[in-house]
Amino acid sequence: MPQLPIALPSQVPLSWYLILSVILFVTGAAGFLLRRNIITVFMCIELMLNAVNLTFIAFSHKLKQVDGNVFSFFVMVVAAAEAAVGLAIILTVFKNRSTLEVDEVSSMKL
């Protein structure tokens, strides 16, 4: 059995979940800031929500309380509502300006 360079812990520390959540959140934020397609930007928001959900569930497990699960359930509900309205807005924007670039829809009026 070859020795691994890093000794793996037998159980996952809670901090690993939090670090994963941080990485996902920052990736989502990077996409949100750097991407120009409205739909992709919107998906990056969903990614950030997901990252936060992971934190909720991890803390729910740590505290042995169900509240974290309930919170992420609510986050999902809000995300669903947000997706319905957001995609309707994207459809309308595309209908009026025939573009999906965020920079080109910067003016309030046509």
Binding site: Y17, R35, R36
Partner: protein, 164 residues
């Protein structure tokens, strides 16, 4: 076993998340996001959130992302044009984001007790527990979200009308 599963699905999630940001075509990004959601569902299972893992797949991957894919297909959204004036933005944003990630990771690593390990099966939040919490202590928020959804439906219908 837990560690291996965690590392596997965490790396899938991170890989898919980075792929989401790097891909130029929205449908590739959408599929990467579905990958993130799927691996997060597995991690939720490891954390004992059985109900939320299933809901993650049903609501997020199965409904919200289908809507995204539907809209991308409907608009026939093509690949993003190559960025023209993104250098400055990238130069400012990336260091800030890396700082944020570093601070967040440092806090997570130092502020949680070293002994806090996540034992698989130590705590399970099945549908019964979550349902009891939603319909007792969280009844008011639950009802409020139903109104939120109603408003969202109305908003979506108004926005998607032909005249606007």
């Amino acid at each position: 076993m837990d560690v291996v599963l965690f590392l596997l699905f965490a790396s899938v999630a991170v890989g898919c998340a980075i792929n989401l940001v790097l891909q130029t075509h929205p449908i590739s990004s959408a599929l990467s996001l579905i990958g993130v959601m799927g691996s997060l569902a597995v991690l939720y299972l490891l954390l004992g959130g059985e109900f939320i893992a299933a809901v993650q797949l049903i609501v997020y991957a199965g409904a919200i992302m289908v809507l995204f894919v539907f809209v991308i297909m409907l608009l026939n959204a093509g690949a993003e044009k190559r960025p023209t004036r993104k250098v400055l933005r990238t130069a400012v944003a990336l260091p800030l984001l890396f700082t944020l990630a570093g601070v967040g990771a440092w806090l997570a690593a130092t502020q949680t007790p070293k002994t806090d390990a996540v034992k698989f099966g130590a705590y399970t939040a099945g549908p019964a527990e979550v349902g009891r919490a939603i319909f007792t202590s969280y009844l008011l928020p639950f009802e409020v979200t139903s109104i939120l959804i109603l408003i969202a439906i109305l908003g979506a219908i108004v926005l998607a009308r032909k005249e606007i």
